[in-house]
Subunit: 266 residues, 2 copies
Amino acid sequence: MKSKEVRERIRRGEFQKNTSGACDEYVQANVVILPKEFAFDFFLYTYRNPKACPLIEVLEAGEYESRLAKGSDIRMDIPLYHVFINGKLHEKRGDIRDLYQDDYVTFLLGCSFTFESQILNNGIYLRHVDYKKNVAMYKTNMETEPAGRFSGPLVVSMRPIANEHLEKVIEITSRFPNMHGAPVHIGDPSKIGIEQIECPDYGEFVEMKDNETPVFWACGVTPQAAAVRANIPVMITHAPGHMFITDWTNDDFLYEIGEKIPSSSE
Amino acid sequence: MKSKEVRERIRRGEFQKNTSGACDEYVQANVVILPKEFAFDFFLYTYRNPKACPLIEVLEAGEYESRLAKGSDIRMDIPLYHVFINGKLHEKRGDIRDLYQDDYVTFLLGCSFTFESQILNNGIYLRHVDYKKNVAMYKTNMETEPAGRFSGPLVVSMRPIANEHLEKVIEITSRFPNMHGAPVHIGDPSKIGIEQIECPDYGEFVEMKDNETPVFWACGVTPQAAAVRANIPVMITHAPGHMFITDWTNDDFLYEIGEKIPSSSE
């Protein structure tokens, strides 16, 4: 199915589940919607933390059509929204048109579904995909660069990778700097402050085999966690796994092997 | 001289001229200081127009030490400031400490001095440097991507380049995506809406020889022009040519040949 068709099914309420595996070749995005009053600080937070918050688009206050998806409506083209009031999850719903205000600013961030699809295309096994589980995510002892009200630990996702495929997986993910890029840590979880690998802070744990190594990537939950901690009056995000599907393909964001991949913090 | 030494001389009022050629190996930056109320729109304008507005740092409201220059003070380390009130140049001065407010946000943008120094190092002649003139700049018929209050034409700088060196100059400047990068136009000025090449909108014209071609680059005056047009109550910038000198070297921002150079608008 084309991305536009899936968005239309979502809009009509016919597609309400998570979007993992839907429209594999299209870029899916994390979504954060905030009042403009907080938008500069959040923009700066993404600029200073590009691995966790790889910005792919910013809509202006009151805008709801993404330039990455013609005819889209960010207020109803996501299967499930989370509404946070004063930093607490207040409501889950499938349409936010009646909540959306003229001063709301929308940020779209790259998502690891892009590199996961590329890993799978290379014939490499991802257990959480096989088990149809949400990837395991952990708060680390690595602090993000604060910006204004926004601060907090780097949140990472973890995938057990067969040792023989480690190099290939690093190479593939390095080529998607706008989708979290190369791993931030490989191996010993305690080195980044994770004490119990079996007990993720978000998502679900999947077992690890003897010939596998845990690999950790910066995760799009980081900015959500920072925004919750910032305790702002109202913030709306996608529900984990229920992403915004753009018309851009994964290949549009792929860098060639051998390129130096820049980041705004360099 | 080291960048820090020049900044200290500027701070003591001993260096008041333009910074072209001072500290050749260090990155110099365009500076725009705005009240936070307008900072999100301006941030978005730079994000949407990366060739004209290559962001290299954003300071938070009230901050005045750049992370790119330890011990610096953005309120007095620039030889000459321009103060705009309601979109009009109101005052030129060498110190803005008594004007600076807690809600002022500072943006640093890459500057063509970086690639000019690299062009000269390659033994290629730049007439305006030889004549110690400000480079010629023109408004074009190319519109920038608007963002909030900010909009306007792309402003370009023009340098006559000997035909035998055209390829080399394109290559050199392409490798500095954070300093305006590759040219936006080469050859016929009328194609980009410039009717009288002898009459630049800013800076000074230098003659062109028969074996030379005019080459046009996106220019850091673009965001200043957009900010003036936006008619905001107060904005402070560097005076043209009187830049902020960082501790980063030009090489820190150099990309290797053969790399695909990304931009946020891709």
